[in-house]
Point group: C2
Chain length 132, copies 2
């Protein structure tokens, strides 16, 4: 299979559950944003056996740690993840809680002029909130 090597190379055993989650997350034309509950629903729709919610949490966090998913900084009662791991930004539609990708070229270069002693910049995230 397509993802077995990827997982093995990451030190993750290619279990049936992880491979199925890979298919839901990565066998798509476009990248997408999701919450754990949305992913759980997607898995139920596409796959015929059940995967425990705990496994979905575990797997998403494992994939995030390996850099296959990104977490997005939004205030919501749920955590948002992104299968688009390139450097990019987001519109956040307050009406329905949906995220829309904003490419770096749509924002322009961001140059942080201030430095904090002894700290490195790990990421720069721009969130553009949208209302009607």
């Amino acid at each position: 299979m397509k993802y077995i090597e990827k997982l093995r190379n990451s030190g993750l055993r290619p279990t049936k559950q992880r491979l199925q989650i890979c298919e839901v997350l990565f066998d798509t034309e476009k990248t997408f944003h999701f919450t754990i509950n949305e992913l759980n629903q997607k898995i139920k729709d596409k796959i015929h056996n059940k995967i425990s919610l705990a496994t979905i949490y575990n797997t998403v966090h494992a994939f995030e740690k390996k850099g296959y998913l990104k977490q997005i900084s939004v205030n919501s009662n749920q955590t948002y993840f992104d299968t688009n791991i390139t450097d990019h930004h987001h519109f956040y539609n307050l009406k329905d809680g949906k995220l829309i990708d904003l490419e770096n070229s749509d924002v322009g270069p961001i140059n942080i002029k201030r430095k904090i002693d002894g700290k490195k910049i790990k990421s720069i995230e721009v969130l553009v909130k949208l209302e009607d």
Copy 2:
């Protein structure tokens, strides 16, 4: 008192609890960032009667709705608020979960080139995550 008019003009009754919370939030040299738990602690330290946690939540949300506080978009298990309601951005220290203000002049103008039909931009927030 200093805050009675402010509250009345906002359509909020100047109750003892709200006035005391105003003192903790706004009687300071500098603005600051806080979670509800941190605010609760601050209130306990500065004031001698107890204010119910529900009242603190209610008041913070009322003040946010009136524009006296801002909510900050960070992923954390707790919601962060800001008494600095000017347009500005943040460093987020991943090590200790603390926020540091980044003035607009420290980031430079952000020009969002893409438009979403029928939507207006409500806010633009830049979050710069810091690691060691």
